[in-house]
Symmetry: C2
Subunit: 446 residues, 2 copies
C-alpha cells in the first residue's frame, strides 16, 4: 500500500532534511518575538508545496497558519504543530551553532529539530510525497500551526474559539513524541493543565541593615511561612478544596500504565536520587506521574545571593510556582482558592501575580483513533507504549472537545528539547514519515 509514496519519501530524504534545515535556520524564538513571521511564511510555503490550501490568521500575538485539503473522504486527520522554538541559550554549550543545523553520526543537531520543526517538516513532506507521486489521499487533511507554543500559546484561543468547525476532525496528531528510554515509540494521549503564578511579599520600602531584624518585619520570613502553609512535608497541597473534583485515572488507564516500564532504577541514577518523592515505587509511582497535580517551586529570590556574607534585611521576597493540574481542576478555580487560603491564613500581604493557566485534557485510551495510531505504529516501529497523559502541559484543552488527539513524533530519549544540542535521529525522521503514511492508510479503513 502506498509504496510509491514511501519510495518517494526514501529517495527524497536529503531534500526533506534540507527543508527542515532551512526552517531551523530561522531563529523563531517566541520569547524574544523574533523570526516569527518568517517562520510562518515558510510553513505556509511548505504547505502549498504539499498541495494544501492555506490561510494565515493574525492574532494579537503570533499568527496561526492553517492548511487543508478536502478530498471528500469520510475521515479527517488534523495536525497541531508550532513554528516557534525555545531560546537557544546558553549558546556556549552547543557543539554546533543552534540555528545552523548540522548532521553528525546520523543525528541532526539544531534548535527546534525535535521540538517541533522536525515533526512539522516530516508531516508536510509526507503529504508532499502523496502529491508528487500523484497518489490520491484517502482522508481529508487539516493543519493548525501556531507560533507561541513555547510561551504558553497565549493567543491561540483567539484562533481556536472562532474556528471550531475547522478544528473539528476524526483524529488529530499533536506536536511532540518519539522513542522512550527503552527504544520503543511512545504515544501521549493527554496533557496536564497548568497554573503559573508568582507570590511576592514586600514589607519595607528598602533593604535595611539586618541588625534591625529585632524590630522590623521580614518579607522573606513572611514568604517562607506562606509557602509552608501551601504544602506539607508529604507534598500534600493544603489549599482547601485543591483536590476537589479531580477525575481519577480510569480503570482502563490504570491497567494501561501497569504495562509501562518507568525504568525506575535508571532514572534514579539520571536524577541522582536514592528514592522518588515520598518513597514512591511501582504502581504508586506511576499513578503519581500520570494522575497527580503538583505545587512546585520553580524559583525563590530574596536579598543577598552572592558569595560570602552580607547582613541585610531584604525589603522583598518572591517565589515562582507552577501547579500542574489534572482533569477536573481549573486554573481560575485554583487561583480563587489560593487567594482565599492565603487570606484565611493571615497572608493578605502576599501578592499573587498570574502568568499563565489552562486546564488538563485527555483523549480516552479506548478511543478508536488511538487504535488507528497503534496499528499504524505497529507497521513501522512495532509496539507502541501508550501514556494516558504526559506529566507536562500544553493547550490540548482548546482542541480536545472537537478532535481526539494523540501525540507522536520523531524525537527520542536523547533529543534534549529545550536544552543545548537538541537533536533527532535521521532514521526516526524517515520512519516517522512512513508512519504518517500508515496513519493515513489505517484512518481510511476506520
Amino acid at each position: 500500500m502506498y509504496d510509491s509514496v514511501t519510495k518517494f519519501i526514501d529517495s527524497s530524504l536529503d531534500e526533506s532534511i534540507e527543508t527542515l534545515k532551512s526552517l531551523c535556520r530561522i531563529p523563531s524564538v517566541a520569547a524574544k518575538n523574533e523570526g516569527l513571521d518568517d517562520a510562518a511564511m515558510m510553513v505556509e510555503e511548505m504547505m502549498k508545496k504539499a498541495g494544501l490550501e492555506t490561510e494565515i490568521h493574525p492574532t494579537t500575538g503570533a499568527s496561526v497558519v492553517t492548511g487543508w485539503l478536502d478530498v471528500g473522504a469520510k475521515r479527517t486527520l488534523l495536525f497541531y504543530d508550532h513554528y516557534d522554538v525555545q531560546p537557544a541559550e546558553p549558546f556556549d554549550l552547543w557543539h554546533s551553532p543552534p540555528f545552523e543545523p548540522e548532521l553528525r553520526d546520523g543525528r541532526l543537531y539544531g534548535r527546534g529539530v525535535a521540538d517541533n520543526k522536525g515533526n512539522t517538516a516530516l508531516r508536510l513532506w509526507t503529504l508532499r510525497a502523496f502529491r508528487e507521486t500523484g497518489t490520491d489521499l484517502p482522508v481529508n487533511i487539516k493543519f493548525v500551526v501556531e507560533g507561541e507554543e513555547e510561551i504558553g500559546s497565549v493567543h491561540l484561543p483567539e484562533y481556536t474559539e472562532k474556528n471550531t468547525d475547522f478544528i473539528t476532525a476524526d483524529g488529530g496528531i499533536w506536536e511532540f513524541g518519539g522513542a522512550g528510554i527503552h527504544g520503543k515509540q511512545e504515544a501521549w494521549l493527554g496533557l496536564k493543565g497548568i497554573f503559573f503564578v508568582e507570590l511576592g511579599v514586600e514589607r519595607l520600602s528598602r533593604d535595611v541593615h539586618s541588625s534591625n531584624a529585632c524590630i522590623l518585619p521580614s518579607a522573606a520570613s513572611r514568604l517562607i511561612w506562606a509557602l509552608n502553609s501551601l504544602k506539607d512535608e508529604a507534598s500534600q497541597v493544603l489549599i482547601e478544596g485543591f483536590y476537589d473534583g479531580i477525575k481519577p485515572l480510569t480503570k482502563t488507564e490504570i491497567e494501561a500504565i501497569k504495562k509501562i516500564d518507568m525504568r525506575e532504577e535508571k532514572f534514579k541514577k539520571v536524577y541522582g536520587i536514592e528514592e522518588y518523592l515520598n518513597g514512591l515505587t511501582n504502581d504508586k509511582l506511576k499513578e503519581a506521574y500520570y494522575g497527580s497535580p503538583t505545587c512546585n517551586i520553580c524559583g525563590l529570590t530574596s536579598g543577598y545571593q552572592g558569595k560570602g556574607s552580607m547582613t541585610v534585611l531584604p525589603a522583598k521576597a518572591s517565589c515562582k510556582i507552577d501547579f500542574r493540574l489534572v482533569e477536573g481542576m481549573h486554573p481560575d478555580d485554583i487561583h480563587k482558592k489560593l487567594r482565599k487560603h492565603l487570606d484565611e491564613h493571615g497572608f493578605t500581604d502576599v501578592k499573587i501575580t498570574y502568568f499563565e493557566g489552562y486546564p488538563a485534557a485527555k483523549t480516552p485510551i479506548d478511543h478508536p483513533f488511538v487504535k488507528v495510531i497503534e496499528r499504524a505504529n505497529q507497521r513501522i516501529f512495532g509496539d507502541l507504549v501508550i501514556h494516558p497523559t504526559s506529566p507536562g502541559s500544553g493547550p490540548l484543552y482548546l482542541f480536545n472537545k472537537y478532535v481526539p488527539m494523540v501525540s507522536i513524533g520523531c524525537g527520542d530519549y536523547e533529543s534534549k528539547a529545550h536544552s543545548p544540542n537538541e537533536s533527532i535521529v535521521i532514521e526516526n525522521f524517515r520512519k516517522s514519515m512512513h508512519r504518517i503514511v500508515a496513519v493515513i492508510d489505517e484512518m481510511s479503513k476506520w
Copy 2:
C-alpha cells in the same frame, strides 16, 4: 584646660582634613584585599607624626597596626579603629568619586570618611596637637588599628589573643558613633554577637523539567520546611535551647533605655511600615532592639529568578541567615543546636556552611569610664544618649575582658556608612577632636 591644644586643632583643621582625604584616597577594601598595606603604612606614619611608638603585626590576613605612648600616667586610654572600608559599589550612585573625597556644603564625601577613617584621623590628629603644642599628655595612649573589620575581623584574634597585656587599659574608645536622628551625640556600650551561616539543600543532580515534580523531591520545598521549623510567625526562634542562658537587660539598662527617644513614628515612615515587628511599641520595642537575638534571612535563592515563567524543578536551594546574639549566647553553641534541630526535624539533608561568628559584649552602663565619656561629651556637645548596646555586631568581645569600651565618633544620622555618598559633617569632625581632648582630661581626673 588644654587651650593651646584645642586652638591648634582649630587652626590646623584644613591640614587634618587633608590628612583624612589622603587616607580616604587609598581604596583599602578588605573584601577585595586591595590597598590594605598602603593604608596600614599611612596609619603608622600618622601615628609617628603624633609622637607614638608603632609596630606592625602581621596576621594570616591584614596586618594590625599598633601605636602607644607611655607617659607613666595612672590611667591608660585605648583606641580601636580600622583602616579598611566597605566596597564602594554601586559606583554610579555616588555624586563624587568614592575614593576622591570632596567637600560640599560643610560635609566631606567619600568612602570611609565616617566608617572609620574619619575617627582614625581625628583621634590621631588630636594626639598630634598635644605633641605640636608641646603639651604633656596626662594619660597613657594605645591604638589598635586593624584592616579586616568590614569582613568580620577574621584574623584579629591572632593579634588580640597574643597581646592581652597591650589591650589592657582603663578605658577604650570603639570605632563608630556620632549624632542620632535627634541631633544629640550617642554612645554605644556594647555590640551584639553574630552567627552567620548558609543553609543549603541539594536534592537532584541537575535542574529538571517541573512536570516531574509529581515524583521527584524538591530542594526548594525542603528548604522552606526547614526554615519554617526555625522560627514561628511571631518570630520566636524554635531551635531548642536557643534562648537558654541569655543575660537579660539589667534594671539599670532598662531604666536607661526608657529615657531614649526611638523616634518611632519617624522611622515608620523611613522604613515604609505601619507597625513594627509584632506590633512592638515603646518600652517593648526598645527591649527588643537592645535585648533580643534574631534569626534573619539575608538571602534566599533557588531556580529561575528571571522575568515571566519558566517551569523548572530546581536541583538546589539555599538561604543565608544571620543570627544576632545577645550576652549569654555563643555562636558555637548555636551552631550545635541548629544542627541538632535540623537533624531532629528530619532535615539531615540541609547542609550548614559557617561564615562568621562571635559573641556579644557590653561595658556596664554604670562603669566609671562611661561617666568619663559622658562628662567629656557634656563639655563639647551637651547631653549624651547612652545605648547599652548597638543592635549591630562587632568584635568587642576580644577586648571587653581587658578594657571597658565605649563607642563614640564623628558620624551622624545622614552619614550613610556602607552606602553610596558616605559623608561626615566637618564641624562634627572638629568638635570630635575637642571631645577627645576632653576625654583625656576627664580620664586624668578619674
